[in-house]
Amino acid sequence: MTRSMKGVVRALALGLAAACSLAAISGASAEELLLKGKRIGVSAIGTDHYWDLMAFRGIQDRVKELGGEVIALDAGRKDQQQIAQLQTLIAQKPDAIIEQLGNLEVLNPWLQKIRDAGIPLFTVDTATPHAINNTTSNNYNIGAEIALQMVADMGGKGNVLVFNGFYSVPVCKIRYDQLKYVLTSFPDVKIVEPELRDVIPNTVQSAYSNVTDMLTKSPEKGSIGAVWACWDVPQIGATQAVEAAGRTEVKTYGIDGSPEVIKMVMDPKSSAGAVAAQQPYEIGKTSVDNVAKYLAGQKVPPFTFVPAVLINKENAAEKGKPFLDAAEKAGVK
């Protein structure tokens, strides 16, 4: 308990410091943590989304900063390829493996094999019993905060369109369950059945047409109050659809904090109501710090939370800017 509390406090400090100055914090920790002569395998299911790319970069940059060697593997969102890469990675016997997202059902037997081979396993945003530590955002918090923001904006009543295509993804499950839990206290807020399905690829286009169809089905203004998704790429399509249909009373909510969505929330005229912005780059770096600590013989908690920031219409100008600056610095629009 105290250990995980410490982790949270540490993560909080890290996040705050990072918001002010990325350079200062890395300089400070580099003195104590070292990965000289260590090889760290990194396996990501894909890097086609902002979050994935930033976390993947954060891991690689941090390993190099600490003097380690990275074996970086991007599976291009192909399960077969990720499994093949993990299989070969096990044979390469790195000092530790960091696994970032993917289908747990597919991954778990292979994560077990990593442990069986005696290789320390760490995960990013992937909760599995096989990992020594999972570094992620506090998705319980995020899920509740974005749901409460939505309920507040709706005035405690109305209908919500919910994208629930990825309930099998653990973080989406948590956020969705938190939404449901919050709604138990607000019986006048109802989820429209059947729920919508977000897809990969063509997420934006598909969300756009789904929401357009639903708005056509409920033509009277006010019949739909909000659109919710467990990440923010469907939110882009939903926001565009709402605006194209002239139904600006509908507000959209999502999680992750892609620069495009943050800009939408910052735009007072946009229908994007709020987004919970995570710090994927920091999450990646923090995961590596956990690896370094573990390899140095220190104990690490089973999970580390890196704080997320709820960006809404009121605080967008102030809270959104650091995220956009960080994205620009990383060369991502």
Binding site: I71, L73, R77, K78, Q80, A84, T88, Q92, N103, E105
Partner: protein
């Protein structure tokens, strides 16, 4: 392609000139072919010397395992190209094979999760796979649609059915058969690797060791001549598409075992399957697809990804190199095919 037509039209007085031209082309093709094989060999040699752990038995068996699914699919594609002729635009091709595998995997995993046993579920997957193959056959042979377009349409049908069935979700699966495929091993070689070895042996024996296989080549190489010799061209061509569907079903069982589930996105494999079937022609003296050639190129593709990872070269390069090799081989075969018309 235009070279092929030229040869078909070549009339008797031009024969000498054509023969001389053909000899020149043949020599050129030989040089290019040996060059391509040398490039393959050079890449392998580089891996052997510089990639740590590349030649260890453990690693090589890993690669065979990783190649099993691609290999089984590539055999299906190869059979279709043999039977339909290897003209890239008008010849045999089965673009639906990877999507078909996705559909079969979805059917297999769904039935298993509903509590039907292995026997029934595998049977259903095979029936669906061969059914999709038969649909291709009807479109290509019955309706006379260009295979490239017919199988593209069937690709969409199969992908759509898979989405309808799974709602784009991961369907977990476990069964005694899957258990054996995942953890079984014999003589130190894993079950999945055995699957590829046995399947390869059967395909090579059927296509290269029987009169049936020889007739299939005749049908693909010279449909007119095959017809004149009394072979039923539609039967042989239809057979290849159904066989391709069967391969998709077999691969689907292997893929469910490897991923412990049916997952969306099987269609992604298509490029690698095509690459394997087309690259394989380089290993044939006459630039025709062969099962042995396909096996070699499947293993080559597997070793390429493996070697790059062992050398810690970015995985992004693998796709690039694979694409470049396809381009090279298609260019060589189109160029060399001219020498083949007058065989």
């Amino acid at each position: 392609m235009s070279a092929t037509t030229l040869h078909a039209d070549a009339s008797v007085p031009d024969e000498k000139q054509a023969a001389a031209k053909s000899a020149g082309r043949r020599f050129g093709a030989l040089v290019v072919r040996l060059g391509a094989i040398a490039a393959f060999a050079a890449i392998m040699a580089y891996f052997v010397i510089f990639a740590p752990g590349f030649t260890s038995t453990f690693n090589l068996i890993n690669v065979v395992e990783q190649s099993a699914i691609l290999g089984v699919l590539a055999y299906g594609m190869t059979a279709v190209i043999i039977g339909g002729g290897s003209d890239v635009t008008e010849g045999g091709i089965d673009l639906s094979i990877a999507a078909n595998m996705g559909l079969c995997a979805a059917v297999y995993a769904t039935l298993l999760s509903m509590g039907y046993g292995d026997f029934l579920s595998v049977l259903a997957a095979i029936a669906v796979g061969m059914g999709v193959g038969a649909l291709n056959a009807v479109a290509v042979v019955g309706l006379g649609i260009l295979p490239l377009l017919a199988t593209l349409a069937v690709l969409n049908v199969a992908a759509g059915m898979e989405l309808t069935l799974t709602q784009n979700t991961v369907v977990g699966a476990s069964s005694p058969l899957l258990g054996v495929l995942v953890s079984g091993s014999f003589l130190g070689i894993s079950a999945l690797a055995w699957a590829l070895i046995v399947f390869s042996a059967i395909m090579i024996a059927v296509i290269h060791g029987t009169a049936f296989g020889l007739r299939l080549y005749a049908v693909g190489g010279h449909p007119e001549a095959a017809r004149a010799a009394g072979l039923s061209v539609p039967f042989y061509v239809s057979f290849t598409y159904v066989l391709s569907g069967f391969c998709a079903a077999v691969a689907s069982v292997l893929t469910v075992s490897r991923l412990s589930a049916s997952t969306p996105g099987s269609g992604e494999l298509l490029l690698s399957v095509l690459a394997a079937a087309l690259l394989g022609t380089v290993f044939s003296r006459r630039f025709v697809p062969t099962m042995g050639g396909t096996l070699l190129s499947v293993l080559f593709i597997g070793l390429l990804a493996n070697g790059f990872q062992l050398l810690n070269v970015s995985s992004y390069w693998v796709n690039g190199v694979q694409g470049a090799l396809i381009l090279l081989v298609v260019a060589i075969t189109s160029f060399a095919r001219g020498s083949e018309g007058s065989r």
